[in-house]
């Protein structure tokens, strides 16, 4: 039975009470540091920040509806090798799920990390967010949650949360040691704090917070949100499959791509130190281009645009957790997330695997099952 407690909100508002909680966590939680999204000075950009001094926590706003980068990459940097200290990391569900994949790919370790997960109601794209936040960062966060939790939705003046978030069927953090719950919780009074693991429980005990119960309404609220998002997701799968159904359609889908590789840089699970597309592998002989051009009379340059995306799909669709950072990073608004999530959905289904779900499920390419894909390999006598 998971242990629960409450983070009191009362009149101070969501952001302040959250900051108060983090201060307590740093002071009493037996941790050396906290990684939390903080509002940077001057502009309202929100970035993961590693904090050791409780006094420096006053910019923290993990509820701000934006995550300019997927922080799993940052956690990987912190934990790839021994950290010699314990760090609590405040992450969105998709960030935790990316972290899980990175751990399985040996790019991160769980030993010295406490994961604090938050219910996620979605985030705006980086550019949209800056407009939404305007001058009042904290105020905009409060506004977003009031609207979202009260049923008024997330759209505002022609902008809305990103398609990735709309299609996200995992708004509740899984694999978090501590969970901060908002959905179905009376946030005017308190936030729900729940320990899901022994690690989380130990901390929760240290914090000496008032006890609370998980409300009946929470499950209902979660189910409703997941249902709405799943519907959006399924429609997206259908439309994307149609839009990329053959090589011509796929080429046209990706026609604005300029091979900037931003999507790859933004992708939290694309973990290679150096991508194969920047190594010598694709250094074709100059004469090769001429030969290709000759074959059809004309060839688009660079030649490997579609190949690049297909390669990345082949490499990463088993690990894609659908955070949408690829679309967020695309300078030409190509729906990169849509195609990745769609393909990933089918790839993962084929391997009976769901990325980010569990640390115990081995990544598909690491396991050899003699009997899988009989429709492909069987009857080859």
């Amino acid at each position: 039975m998971a242990k629960t407690a409450k983070i009191e909100v009362k009149e101070q508002g969501l952001v302040d009470s959250m900051q108060g909680f983090f201060r307590t966590l740093l002071e009493k939680g037996d941790i050396n540091a906290l990684l939390v999204p903080q509002r940077l000075p001057r502009k309202n950009a929100v970035m993961p920040t590693l904090v050791t001094d409780p006094e420096k926590i006053n910019g923290a706003d993990p509820l701000a509806p934006v995550f300019p980068i997927n922080a799993a990459k940052v956690v990987s940097k912190l934990t790839r090798k021994p950290l010699h200290g314990k760090v609590a990391v405040v992450l969105r569900p998709c960030e935790i799920r990316a972290f899980v994949e990175l751990v399985k790919l040996k790019q991160a370790r769980t030993e010295e990390v406490v994961i604090v997960g938050l219910d996620c109601l979605g985030a705006y794209g980086n550019v949209d967010y800056l407009r939404f936040a305007g001058e009042d960062g904290n105020g905009s966060t409060q506004k977003f949650f009031q609207n979202a939790l009260s049923g008024k939705g997330t759209a505002w003046e022609g902008i809305d949360i990103s398609p990735a978030c709309k299609a996200c069927d995992h708004p509740i953090p899984e694999n978090a040691d501590l969970l901060i719950g908002l959905l179905g919780v009376d946030t005017s009074d308190h936030l729900l704090l729940k320990a899901n693991t022994a690690k989380g429980e130990a901390i929760l005990d240290n914090l000496k917070l008032p006890a609370a119960k998980e409300s009946e309404g929470r499950k209902k609220a979660v189910d409703a949100l997941v249902a709405a998002r799943s519907a959006y997701r399924d429609q997206m799968f259908e439309e994307t499959s149609e839009a990329t159904a053959d090589i011509e359609k796929l080429t046209s889908y990706l026609s604005e791509c300029i091979n900037c590789y931003n999507c790859r840089v933004a992708c939290p699970v694309c973990y290679c130190k150096e991508c194969v597309f920047v190594t010598d592998v694709f250094d074709h002989e100059p004469s090769q281009y001429l030969q290709w051009a000759k074959r059809k009379g004309a060839v688009k340059m660079p030649t490997d645009t579609v190949f690049y995306h297909i390669t990345r799909l082949a490499h990463m669709s088993t690990a894609c957790i659908g955070c949408g950072q690829c679309s967020n990073a695309c300078p030409n608004n190509i729906p990169v997330m849509e195609i990745f999530r769609t393909i990933a959905h089918y790839t993962q289904k084929a391997f009976d695997y769901e990325a980010g779900l569990s640390l115990d499920d081995e990544p598909p390419l690491s396991v050899f099952r003699e009997d899988e894909f009989q429709e492909v390999v069987a009857k080859m006598h």
């Binding site: 790019q107 973990y271 130190k273 991508c275 074709h284 090769q288 490499h315 050899f368 003699e370 006598h381």
Partner: protein
């Protein structure tokens, strides 16, 4: 490649023969591998699937170290090894000399089709008018007289079956490459003399034989014949027995005096058959019965002609001989044949079923009934057909049929999605091997295969529609019947044809059933020193045991050659120096074979040449008429010599054939063979592909362009040389460990033998008798004494292994000595032989009475005289105590033998004792069956119990009473017993600890997990570490010794050189790109990769790496690459392949 002094002959090229030959070749000996069949592979060529994976896996026998010496493709298709010469259709006809220096005479059947020229196109078969049953498909399909003996061989050349060939010569005319040559000219020189007093016989014989191309004279009487013989020599005389002036016997005697070389065949009427047989004793080769027709006589003459005239005989000196002649099969049509084999088409043997269900079989893998092609709904397997049958002179168990039938039942289930009803009718289900019991349970519980304990007495047709009715007696004695579509007979084993002459020739002894008799405590030594046995020639064995035994035979052969002074002395061979072309731009010479005129006609060759010339890097294109001939090859060599090309691409047929030739070419031209490649341009032009010239040309262009793409990108690096510490570590001083240590030490290498007790011997110390009679304590004494005196063995008693680092070739292992502290040993290989122990139990009242013992304890007490057989009235034994059910769901294999041994001993000492053995299945496999029969004959009562209704034991005042349900009576029987002996079986003995230290695996029962049960039974996945004996799985003394010899054999592959060459194609890691995700480590099927924590790098063991490329495939950014298959190179190949498509 290493070459050693010494050579060996391996007779039989089935699994065991190939294994032994590869073993000896890997050690560096020159090996002659012969088989009388025209193909390699023995029985296995007919089997597509093998228990327990239900796949093949024969290729796992191929060399893992120094692997470039050998072919690296499907072993069922063929084999090439630098040190092996393979002669097919060849028999051993004489063996003389002495161990270490035998003279062997080999006779090879003539090859009418030249395998060098035959491309396998199949034109010949198309025109052949003959159709006969195809033995490959066990007679279920037809073939021509010119045919492929095995459909999947590479290269696959056609063979003429002279016994059925009509010599019409059509194939010779149509062969596009001129590969067929009946040598009609030579036949004209074969002179035959027909001697008969009847004109009609003389005339018709003369007609028939002249028509077949022979030169025939006739003599009308004995004197006439002798006169002709004085004038001229004849090759063959056909001689009538009954002639007026001088009878045939007399003529024979005189003819042989005059011309000892003349071959004589007697012609006889039925009345004088005995005389004809007598004639054979004084020199006649054969006889024919009159009256005869051309169909019987001509083939006989042809056969004689081939053996007398055309068979090539060859003599050679060999140090040792391994007989791996395999086995024959019982013909169920002989004897009473109550199952109607041969009468009802839907009664087949196991091998026939195997072909029936095979993808290359008559129905392309669909399960159809032979009689009418109807889909099969119900199949019954009948066990022990011609085995365990005293009437059929087979008081032995054929050992493999139980698993074979289960496997076939599973295959049938899988093929039909579980639709087929599969039932196995058996007496005892002998699941005595590792994992067999669980396999049986999988069949029973997951696949619903029915196991029906009963003996079927007859099979009869049910109506006229092909259905069969089987009648059997159930356990309770009631008669029952079932109607099935197909009956499969598990036909037992017999010695192969020709065993007796082979035994006589080689000096080995045969047992009473005609199998080769082995020496005590050995599975490979025979009565004749220097002649060893591998595989089923000494009793049927499954693949795993055949492999072990073949290893053991080759080890013995090597030891013998070594002891005779040949041995592992290195014969130096200069490795060739190649031109350094790394700084040159690629210049490719392309040589295209036109295959006489065939290819030039099938394709637009001018167009091909133009297209190929235009390819990047191609500097010249040659068209050669026939590269496969000596002439064509010289032209190619010449062209390469005079060119400046630094790459060579050959377009011809059968690329596999060229491996050896390219190596030679490298030596003569100085161009590294790694810069040469052969592609197949012949197949596109095969007539049955029905392609037009444009299509053929396009396929050839694409194939050649792909080849050019590949050779262009080749950048050979010299293979790495891996230093080897030429010492071994053996852990465990039981009979297994000691035998392994001795075998390695006898070859001149140092061995460190680590034993945790203060005495050597292990479990053997507790054994006082064996079932077969050989005394185990003598074996123990001799072995311990040899070990302790051996100059190459250092024994560490009271010592245990603490930790081990390193990989094949170089390990560092620390051992802790109880009295003297730690010591670190350097060694190249390790053998883990830590044994097992008798299980203890809490079942059946054990511990409650002194009258309840284990089999071991009984043996001990009988030996120490604390149990006196004379004082015993009733002894009960319970088998399978806590065994063959979860969690110990395996058979301990030795308990039935132990029970039989102790029971027979007790009966022998006191015939009045009543002995009851309560059992589930008596595992009296192989010749142990004979002791089971003896036991029953001596009145020992065997009562079968089931696992749901186990015996019950009551102990009152020390008095033991056993209750058991008798299945025949259907009632409880109570047996007040003076002694209750429990067969508790064998359990693991702390293998997991050592496994962790050496980074190897244990199975779910705690025994060591081998790399592959069938094909690599003594290897671990991690190269350089091996296991034998009970530590791997329960087994007998001789089985343990054989396994120990097998580990020694595997270890010696590594130890015999101070440096091993890695394969040319091995994986490497580009560390600057590697992000240490370790996907490659989990993907590597050979355990050849690991993460070095200190260096923070992923490392590759180049000895272990087999170049499969799995690591390169899972690596997302080509940090893991395979030499010889660089990305850009592969892109070029793919581009070339797609060029013509898009």
């Amino acid at each position: 490649m290493r070459k050693k002094i010494g050579s060996a002959l391996v007779v039989g090229a089935g699994i065991s023969g190939i294994r032994s030959a590869l073993d000896l070749a890997e050690l560096g000996y020159q090996v002659q591998l012969i088989d009388r069949a025209p193909h390699l592979g023995g029985t296995l060529s007919q089997l597509d699937y093998q228990f327990p994976t239900d796949h093949c896996g024969m290729c796992k026998m191929l060399p893992l170290v120094e692997r470039d010496s050998s072919s690296q493709y499907c072993l069922r298709k063929g084999l090439f090894h630098e040190n092996i010469e393979i002669m097919l259709s060849t028999e051993l006809v004489a063996l003389e000399g002495e161990p270490g220096k035998f003279q062997a005479t080999l006779r090879q059947k003539p090859a009418i089709v030249d395998p060098e020229r035959c491309t396998g196109c199949g034109e010949c078969s198309g025109v052949c008018p003959v159709e006969v049953a195809d033995e490959f498909n066990a007679g279920l399909t037809k073939r021509k007289a010119i045919y492929l003996p095995v459909p999947h061989n590479i290269p696959n050349s056609y063979t003429v079956d002279l016994a059925t060939c009509t010599l019409c010569g059509e194939c010779e005319k149509i062969c596009p490459t001129g590969a067929i040559d009946f040598r009609w000219e030579a036949r004209k020189e074969f002179r035959i003399l027909v001697v008969d007093d009847e004109l009609i016989v003389r005339d018709s014989l003369k007609d028939w034989l002249t028509e077949d191309g022979f030169q025939v004279d006739a003599a009308e009487s004995g004197p006439d014949a002798l006169e002709k013989l004085t004038k001229q020599s004849y090759h063959l005389m056909l001689l009538d027995i009954k002639m007026p002036d001088m009878d045939g016997i007399e003529v024979l005697k005189r003819a042989k005096e005059m011309r000892p070389d003349v071959a004589v065949v007697m012609m006889t009427a039925y009345a004088t058959v005995e005389t004809a047989v007598e004639a054979m004793k004084i020199g006649a080769l054969d006889y024919v019965l009159k009256p005869f027709d051309p169909d019987t006589l001509v083939p006989l003459v042809l056969k004689l002609y081939e053996t007398v005239e055309r068979s090539g005989e060859r003599e050679m000196e060999v140090g040792a001989v391994v007989l791996a002649a395999g086995f024959g099969s019982y013909d169920p049509a002989t004897g009473n044949n109550t199952y109607g084999y041969g009468e009802y088409p839907n009664v087949v043997t196991s091998i026939e079923f195997e072909r029936l269900i095979s993808g290359t079989g008559p129905n392309e893998g669909r399960l159809l009934r032979p009689s009418d092609g109807k889909e099969i709904g119900k199949v019954a397997w009948l066990q022990c057909v011609g085995s365990r049958d005293i009437q059929a002179n087979a008081d032995y168990c054929s050992s493999v049929c139980c698993m074979f039938s289960i496997k076939e039942a599973l295959l049938a289930k899988e093929r039909t999605d579980g639709q087929v009803d599969a039932a196995i009718f058996y007496m005892d289900m002998r699941t005595f091997g590792k994992n067999f019991q669980r396999y049986r349970e999988k069949a029973e519980k997951e696949y619903n295969v029915r196991f029906q304990r009963s003996r079927v007495h007859s099979v009869e047709p049910e109506g006229a529609n092909g259905n069969l009715r089987i009648s059997y007696t159930d356990l309770d004695g009631a008669g029952r019947e079932e109607i099935v579509d197909l009956v499969v007979l598990a036909a037992g084993q017999r010695p192969p044809a020709g065993t007796e002459p082979l035994a006589e020739m080689t000096g080995v002894e045969l047992n009473s059933w005609g199998f080769c008799q082995l020496q005590p405590f050995s599975l490979s030594r025979t009565a004749q020193e220097g002649v060893f046995v591998g595989g089923s020639f000494s009793g049927l064995r499954d693949i795993s045991e055949s492999v072990i035994q073949a290893n053991s035979a080759s080890l013995q052969a090597s030891s013998l050659i070594h002891s005779k002074g040949g041995g592992l002395a290195e014969a130096t061979e200069q490795s060739p120096e190649f031109r350094d072309v790394s700084r040159e731009l690629p210049r490719t010479m392309v040589a295209l074979c036109t295959c006489g005129d065939t290819l030039a006609q099938a394709a637009n060759f001018d167009g091909v040449e133009t297209a190929v010339s235009a390819l990047d890097s191609v500097t010249q294109v040659h068209r050669l008429e026939r590269i496969c001939t000596q002439e064509g090859w010289s032209q190619l060599e010449e062209a390469l010599h005079s060119s400046e090309a630094n790459r060579l691409l050959i377009g011809a047929c059968l690329p596999y054939v060229y491996t050896k030739k390219l190596r030679e070419l490298g030596k003569t031209t100085g161009l590294n063979p790694a810069l040469m490649e052969v592609v197949d341009i012949c197949t596109p032009a095969f007539p049955n592909r029905n392609s037009n010239p444009e299509q053929v040309s396009r396929e050839i262009r694409t194939t050649v362009a792909m080849g050019v793409g590949k050779v262009k990108g080749m950048e050979p690096t010299p293979p790495a040389a891996i230093p080897v510490i030429q010492e071994a570590l053996v852990v465990g001083g039981g009979i297994g460990g000691m035998s392994a240590a001795l075998a390695i030490a006898d070859h001149g290498f140092g061995v460190n033998l680590v034993e945790k007790e203060d005495e050597l011997g292990g479990n053997l110390r507790a054994l006082h008798r064996t079932l077969e009679g050989a005394p185990p304590q003598e074996l123990l004494e001799q072995t311990v004494s040899r070990v302790e005196k051996h100059p190459n063995i250092k024994v560490y008693k009271k010592s245990e292994v603490l930790q081990s680092l390193g990989s094949a070739g170089h390990f560092l292992t620390t051992i802790e000595r109880e009295d003297e502290g730690g010591v670190t040993l350097e060694h190249g290989v390790a053998v883990l032989a830590t044994g097992g122990k008798e299980a203890t139990t809490e079942s059946y009242g054990y511990g409650q009475s002194e009258a309840i013992l284990t089999q071991h304890q009984l043996e001990d007490k009988l030996h120490g005289d604390s149990v006196n057989p004379a004082e015993l009235r009733v002894v009960t034994m319970i088998q399978c105590v806590d065994s063959r059910e979860e969690p110990r769901n395996y058979c301990s294999r030795i308990c039935c033998g132990s029970a039989l041994k102790n029971a027979l001993y007790l009966k022998d000492q006191n015939p009045d004792i009543d002995i009851y053995v309560l059992y589930r299945d008596i595992m009296a496999y192989g010749f142990l069956e004979n002791y089971y029969t003896q036991a029953r004959q001596k009145g020992i009562i065997f009562i079968q119990y089931s696992v749901d209704d186990k015996p019950r034991v009551e102990v009152e005042n020390g008095q033991v009473t056993v209750g058991v349900t008798d299945p025949i009576l259907g009632k409880e029987v109570t047996i007040p017993s003076d002694l209750l002996v429990l067969s508790t079986g064998i359990v693991a003995n702390g293998q997991d600890k050592l496994a962790q230290i050496f980074e190897v695996e244990v199975d779910q029962d705690g025994f060591y997990q081998e790399a592959e049960y069938k094909w690599r039974p003594v290897d671990f996945l991690k190269e350089g570490i091996f296991t034998c004996g009970i530590a791997h799985s329960p087994r007998s003394i001789s089985e343990t010794i054989a396994m120990a010899e097998a580990t020694a054999q595997r270890a010696l592959r590594i130890l015999t050189s101070d440096r091993l060459t890695a394969g040319a194609i091995v994986a490497e890691v580009r560390h600057s790109l590697c992000c240490l995700c370790e996907k490659c480590i989990s993907a590597c099927p050979y355990g050849a990769r690991w993460r070095d924590e200190l260096e923070e790098k992923v490392m590759v063991n180049e000895l272990g790496c087999q170049g499969c490329g799995s690591c390169a495939a899972v690596c997302p950014n080509s940090a893991s690459v395979l030499s010889g298959y660089r990305d850009q190179q592969m892109f070029s190949v793919i581009d070339a392949a797609l060029e013509e498509m898009f």
